[in-house]
Symmetry: C2
Subunit: 373 residues, 2 copies
């Protein structure tokens, strides 16, 4: 088996090596935005957390996993019903290996993580088929607090990576994209092996049907996002806006959810010169969604960087499954892996990555399984 | 009038230029810990906030001033009864001038600031003559959360500056120092022109009298601090400990309150090789307190860096008064000024500093006065 250098496993959607190098940083910072939308409680929308009552715990548990390698608000770690661990495992492993600092932003999480988190002081989001995604004042506050934070971070780093954990977030992302006139149906990804497009489309139709003056509202983006979005979207957009306003580069680390953030930034007339999306090849090449199409609809100059983590070569079943379309991405796993690889340089190989991930898997998942038996 | 370069206005307690240079950083980060102790409600203990019902607002207002140049939780800005503005004015001006990033830590503030703050999730502190300073579990949580934050910050910077805003904090600091066996009475400073030593000593005597097993408790420092201290002390100590554990330098930016933080670190056997105190010459040379004595009692190798801000040369009465012993220090003003000066280098003069401070004064204080008339 040939193990290529990991640097060569990073691709840019524009095919240019220069684009990848542009987003390299010796000292980036990773920000994980944890949030909640009541939309996640619609049966069949998400499998994050494994069962419906655990869904609300997933963002806090992901954040705790990042900091401690274990969770505090739940026993064990977040896994899918198939036993696939949260992508936070990947994020933690690569951030630690590359010594990239991480900060947790609590932007309307329902369960609070047991760790020092930056609070945006907003309420958790509602179920968009029944109520607004978040209240308008929280949408504005999330964006403004994000801006303030992003501006401070840009003083200490040239590159801010923004990841997220919000179960059900691809559905609210779909609603936001659709609200802004993008034909996003059947294009957003899912953490589940079979993408429940029909259900998501139906939820979005119901949510959008409640809005009378949709076209008009496109000129008031933060209000539109508050009606059918979730608290993560204006928060991440605010951080990106603030950081870029002070000259930093931004990587939106995630799958199709991050296109909703991009869409909001575009609607707010924020310059998109210094932003990219960073994700896994599992999202980029996913046949049940189309992140390239979504980004092109918003701004065709925004590159998508993707990394092939080579998880199919792992001897751990829980990691192998990423390749077969389960989990795929989340908690900024893809973007964090790209940033770590760009920071670590050429001596960091696919094999070294796999060893790092497997060691984390053994430490946090397998030990835990043994412990519980 | 000769205006010397500001670099030469920084002195180290050990007389060595090398010590000052050791704490220079091109990319430091400033952390402001805001907190509350019920001890501040004892009449005559503090003048922060100007009147007793405003005392609880001062930390939040200081933090807001740092980020916005104005306050949101109160009209106007925190001033002493004499009209002297909060030292946050100095901190904000020098941080902005030197482009040093700042983060706000909410470690038990009673009033929450309107900005994105890192929450340590602890309750505000009690009045130590009536109750414990904070509960034991919060003292531990404050330290642990501080450590986690400090460790992350050390990945992004080589130097963490820790400031504070907690009215009444010199009294709880005195109680902690005394509890650890240091003869600190008549040695702690005050933001008031006449230092109410007798009152502080009486408060501390009452607080310590309630503890049966004082000597024994010295081996359980976080418990001892919880009994007679305040939430800022274990929080700042935790941040310092975490940052230094990952190789960063730490500057405790403040007056005699910071010696209580140092005392806790020493009691916890944390190495004090990479830490200093950074303050104003107004505290260092204060005749009604003795920070040098306090530091020497704890660890004579910890340098005190102090800066002469030359405020007596200002044409603003509100700034001139610092020299005459009002306010003197707070919100990390001295340490932030030192770090800014070390970052900005030799072309940054006393005159430039004064212009920067006066501009901030005009923008935030004078405009506000005119506006209110």
């Amino acid at each position: 088996m040939t193990v290529p250098s990991l640097y060569s496993a990073i691709k840019s959607s524009d095919g240019k090596q220069k684009t990848i190098d542009n987003f390299a940083s010796a000292n980036p910072i990773f920000v994980c935005v944890i949030s909640y939308t009541g939309t996640s409680q619609i049966p069949g929308i998400t499998m994050a957390g494994g069962s419906s009552h655990l869904i609300a715990f997933t963002p806090a548990a992901d954040a705790e996993f990042l900091y401690y390698g274990k969770c505090k608000c739940i026993p064990g770690v977040p896994v899918t019903p198939e036993g696939i661990p949260t992508p936070a495992l990947i994020t933690r492993a690569v951030l630690m290996k590359s010594k990239i600092a991480s900060l947790i932003v609590d932007a309307g999480s329902k369960i609070k993580p047991v760790l020092p988190a930056i609070s945006f002081d907003i309420k958790h989001g509602g179920n968009i088929i029944e109520e607004e995604g978040l209240c308008r004042s929280d949408s504005i506050k999330a964006f403004e607090n994000g801006k303030l934070l992003g501006m401070q971070l840009a003083l200490i780093t040239d590159m801010v990576i923004i990841g997220e954990s919000i179960p059900g977030g691809t559905t609210t992302a779909l609603a936001v994209l659709t609200a802004f006139g993008i034909e996003a149906k059947f294009k957003v990804s899912s953490s589940m092996p079979v993408n429940p497009h029909e259900l998501k489309n139906k939820v979005v139709d119901i949510a959008l049907d409640k809005i009378d003056n949709l076209i008009q509202l496109r000129t008031d983006p933060l209000t539109l996002v508050s009606l059918v979005g979730d608290p993560m979207i204006p928060s991440a957009a605010g951080i990106a806006c603030g950081a870029m306003s002070q000259g930093a580069k931004v990587m939106l680390a995630g799958g199709t959810q991050m296109t909703a953030v991009l869409c909001l930034l575009k609607a707010l007339n924020v310059s998109l010169e210094k932003i990219c999306i960073g994700t896994t090849s599992y999202v980029k090449n996913d046949e049940s969604s189309d992140i390239s199409y979504l980004v092109d609809c918003i701004c065709d100059r925004v590159p998508i960087l993707s990394i092939d983590l080579g998880l199919e070569y792992s001897n751990k079943e829980g990691l192998k499954s990423y390749k077969s379309g389960i989990a795929k991405e989340g908690v900024g796993a893809g973007g964090a892996s790209i940033a770590a690889t760009l920071k670590l340089g050429s001596h960091w190989t696919s094999r070294a990555l796999l060893r790092t991930l497997e060691a984390e898997y053994e430490n946090s998942i397998e030990k835990n399984l043994t412990h519980n038996q």
